[in-house]
């Protein structure tokens, strides 16, 4: 059952789709703007998007949105008619208008005051593109009264009160339909019926011009209807009845003096009364018609192949699937313990159950997965705004827009990405003059890409700016007391200083990025998602910030291992291979570093037992199993564990809400036997042990 609130919701949902289509269309036009090679249908589609938003907005009385959409639409209309040549300037304005339209929609949805000055400024700029159509901007408010052909009668009555008191007037209306009246689906009888609602109506037909049968042209109407109406309404209301047939008939309306009422010049012609009171309303029941609605629902619903589902329901489903996976693990363990797994049939159906649970889990996750495209589109806007405010021209490129990521992750990426993009434009790119002086194009490039790599999602923000000024970063860090002045840091370590709390390299605090929200906030936001953020910079060539995220926040394939008597889980996606090392391949490096030679490549060994403080010194590596893990930037480590138990799907139970961020630990899980195991973040663990050269001492943290 529809109600206005639901329709309103539908409208805003539709707006999201339309705004996305609008953005898509504009980007498509962007690509073909230089040689005008874009598809004219794209301009049409863009126009329709704005037009539909306007149409819906008007229905909900969102005046400002309507006004703005109208002005925007006028420009798009000139674009599609060819009267306005599309160039980069125009498109840029269109992009800004689309952003503003988005703001107005959001303002309408949340019932807040939209940023008026911005839209006013844009309205003027848009109006300047089509100077001869400026007056259209107000068409909605101005045109309303005379264009709605049928203003409610009550208003008219109030207007006409003085005349009404002076008793009804009589009008003679002569109507001679043309051929076109009938072919447009109009019917004189219906006109008479409507006219009769205005007062007492007498209808007569003048057959004088009707030809004899042999000369009759069946498609021509030669009858003239003479309508005599005594009404309290004026001529305007009578004329309004014939609004639809204007130009399709000869119409003559004249007012009779009330004194000559009796003097009816047409009394001699044939008369045929039309029911004076057709009781229109009686024919249409005011109540709803459940049958009709049911039918219409069936027809209308068939067209839409998607279902909008409350996210809570999906989350609940995912939770239950998580429980199912745990339950399946418990069951497997129980059967194993009971020692009946030799039973062929039992093990087959158990395997089937396992596969089924996995399929269900994957299908459910697919429901939540969304392409990053809308997120990227939002970022295009950030680039536009940032480049405008900073005065740096920036070209925004995206790659891998179709990459699908869990919805929760996408939502929580908005803020960190916004910040990173702003940074890339504001701090990353050089000013145009500077760029020219070093032989670069004046327009800088900011690229946002997404890709799936080894079971994780990698999102990168890169610019082709000057790269990180490491000297400056170092001196600022020293000035702020973040590091001792005599520290000797590797380049990558200096780059990573940017992530320290309270760090800002901007010479002047700009409107954009210097808002006290530093890169440290970005890092902690990403870490909360179980992700990592890294920064790579090349002086003079640009900076790349890379976010690596887990695909889902619910389940992962893990290798269950024994680390000094503790059960831990290593995500399978991180593991390249497992090996039992040949003692000859193990080499000591310094006092406490060990490397292993894997196919003639030396890989540092990280003993998980030591790193996590479960034992103080490494035991003989030849007794252990090495898990070779690789990072996003192709660095390898060998994680040493005592034993591999199993490989299975584990349900991720976050630790953040209870313990905060624990370095090296991604999450925890519940095993089949009911025990809890930590899921480690191999790269983070390895990196930390690399850099710090000491144990993370997780045990100490467990007490907190």
């Amino acid at each position: 059952m529809s109600s206005s609130a639901e329709i309103r919701q539908t409208f805003f949902q539709e707006c999201d789709d339309l705004l996305e289509a609008l953005d898509d269309g504009l980007c498509e036009i962007d690509e073909g703007v230089s040689d005008l090679s874009f598809d004219p249908e794209t301009v049409n589609a863009v126009f329709r998007s704005v037009h539909s938003i306007k149409g819906g907005a008007a229905a909900f009385g969102l005046d400002q949105l309507v006004q703005f959409a109208h002005q925007f639409e006028t420009v798009l209309d000139s674009m599609r008619s060819g009267s306005l040549t599309v160039n980069e300037e125009v498109l840029k304005l269109c992009h800004r208008a689309a952003d503003c339209l988005n703001d107005l929609v959001v303002a309408g949805r949340d019932d807040i005051n939209p940023p008026e000055n911005v839209s006013q400024d844009l309205v003027e700029k848009l109006a300047n593109l089509v100077p001869n159509k400026t007056e259209n901007a107000n068409v909605q408010s101005e045109g309303a009264s005379d264009d709605f052909g049928f203003a409610p009668a009550s208003i008219s009555i109030i207007d006409e009160v003085p005349e009404a008191v002076s008793a009804g007037s009589t009008y003679i209306v002569k109507l001679r339909p043309h051929k076109s009246l009938a072919s447009s689906g109009n019917d004189p009888l219906l006109l008479f019926r409507e006219l009769s609602e205005l007062g007492d109506l007498k209808v007569s037909a003048d057959f004088a011009e009707v030809k004899s049968l042999e000369n009759l042209q069946v498609e021509e109407c030669r009858i003239t209807w003479v309508l005599e109406i005594n009404t309290n309404f004026g001529e305007a209301e009578i004329r309004e009845v014939f609004e639809f047939v204007d130009g399709m008939c000869d119409l003559d309306i004249s007012k009779l003096n009330s004194t000559v009422l009796q003097d009816d010049p047409y009394s001699s012609t044939n008369q045929s009364e039309v029911g004076a009171n057709p009781q229109n309303d009686a024919n249409i029941p005011s109540g709803s018609d459940p049958v009709g609605r049911g039918k219409s629902g069936a027809v209308g619903g068939a067209a839409n192949a998607t279902v909008r589902v409350n996210l809570e329901l999906v989350d609940r489903l995912i939770n239950m699937v998580g429980e199912l996976v745990i339950n399946q693990a418990v069951l497997t363990q129980c059967i194993d313990d009971a020692g009946v797994l030799d039973n062929g049939e039992l093990s087959t159906s158990l395997a089937e159950f396992k596969n089924l649970a996995r399929d269900i889990q994957e299908s459910v996750m697919a429901i939540r997965a969304q392409s990053v495209k809308p997120l990227f589109q939002r970022m295009a806007r950030i680039v536009r705004e940032a480049s405008e405010l900073s005065g740096k021209e920036a070209l925004f490129e995206t790659e891998g827009e179709t990459t699908e990521v869990d919805k929760t992750i996408i939502e929580r990426l908005v803020d960190p990405l916004t910040h990173m993009i702003r940074n890339a434009v504001d701090h990353g790119l050089e000013a145009p003059e500077l760029r020219r002086s070093v032989g670069k194009l004046e327009t800088g490039k900011v690229k946002l890409s997404a890709a799936h790599r080894s079971g994780r999602v990698i999102i990168e923000v890169s610019d082709d700016g000057a790269g990180i000024n490491r000297e400056k970063v170092f001196s600022i860090a020293v000035d702020k007391g973040l590091i001792p002045a005599d520290s000797s840091l590797k380049d990558s370590e200096i780059d990573n200083l940017l992530f320290l709390p309270g760090f800002s390299t901007a010479d002047k605090v700009s409107n954009l990025s210097g808002r006290g929200v530093g890169m440290d906030v970005v890092r902690s936001a990403i870490q909360k998602l179980g992700g990592r953020v890294n920064i790579f910079s090349k002086p003079g060539a640009g900076t790349t910030m890379s976010i690596s995220l887990p695909l889902t926040l619910a389940v992962l394939d893990g290798m269950v291992v024994d680390v000094a008597g503790q059960t831990m889980v290593v995500p399978i996606t991180a593991i390249v291979e497992t090996l039992r090392p040949d003692p000859d391949d193990i080499h000591k490096l310094g006092s406490d570093n060990t490397v292993v030679s894997v196919r003639n490549k030396l890989v540092p060994v990280v003993d998980l037992g030591v790193v996590f403080g479960h034992r103080s010194s490494a035991v003989s590596l030849s007794e252990m199993v090495l898990l070779l893990v690789e990072s996003d930037d192709a660095t390898s480590w060998a994680l040493a564990v005592d034993q591999i138990f199993d490989q299975r799907q584990v349900v991720i139970k976050g630790l953040e809400s209870n313990y905060g961020y624990v370095p090296g630990v991604a999450a925890a899980t519940i095993l089949g036997d009911g025990n809890i195991a930590l899921i480690i973040d191999p790269e983070e663990t390895a990196r930390r042990s690399d850099e710090a050269g000491e144990s993370l001492n997780i045990l100490a943290m467990e007490g907190k």
Binding site: I7, N44, R48, A59, V241, I284, S286, S296, V299
Partner: protein
């Protein structure tokens, strides 16, 4: 007899509004997503009146009206055009293609129902 209305509009919001308003008004409402969809449904539904938007993908409102009028059986079918444009030339174009009348968006319930009643016998 209940008047059957076929409403053609590419905006889901408008479709929902039409459906809501017209069902409340006692009409039997069917909706279509665009011109092509509308013409297909026209055949199976046999409506007493058609309401169509103008700007639509695939086939626009003018196209819909012309296609409907080109079939003798529908030569007298009342067709209302829904338009946000109050511009006279659009009304003229709609009329020339054979529209019976028009409703300017945003419509209120009364206005819309009035427009249908004035062109249908029901």
């Amino acid at each position: 007899m209940t008047v059957k209305v076929l409403a053609i509009d590419d905006s889901k919001t408008i479709r929902e509004m039409l459906r809501h308003t017209l069902s409340q008004g006692g009409f039997e409402v069917y909706v279509a997503d665009d011109g092509v969809d509308g013409l297909e449904k026209l055949e199976c539904i046999g409506p007493d009146v058609v309401i169509t938007d103008i700007n639509m993908p695939r086939l626009d409102g003018f196209g819909v009206i012309e296609k409907i009028r080109s079939q003798a059986v529908y030569s007298a079918l009342p067709i209302l055009v829904l338009t946000t444009e109050s511009a006279q030339d659009l009304k003229e174009r709609a009329k020339n293609s054979g529209a019976t009348g028009w409703v300017v968006k945003p419509f209120d319930d009364e206005k819309l129902i009035h427009a249908i009643k004035r062109i249908t016998v029901g």
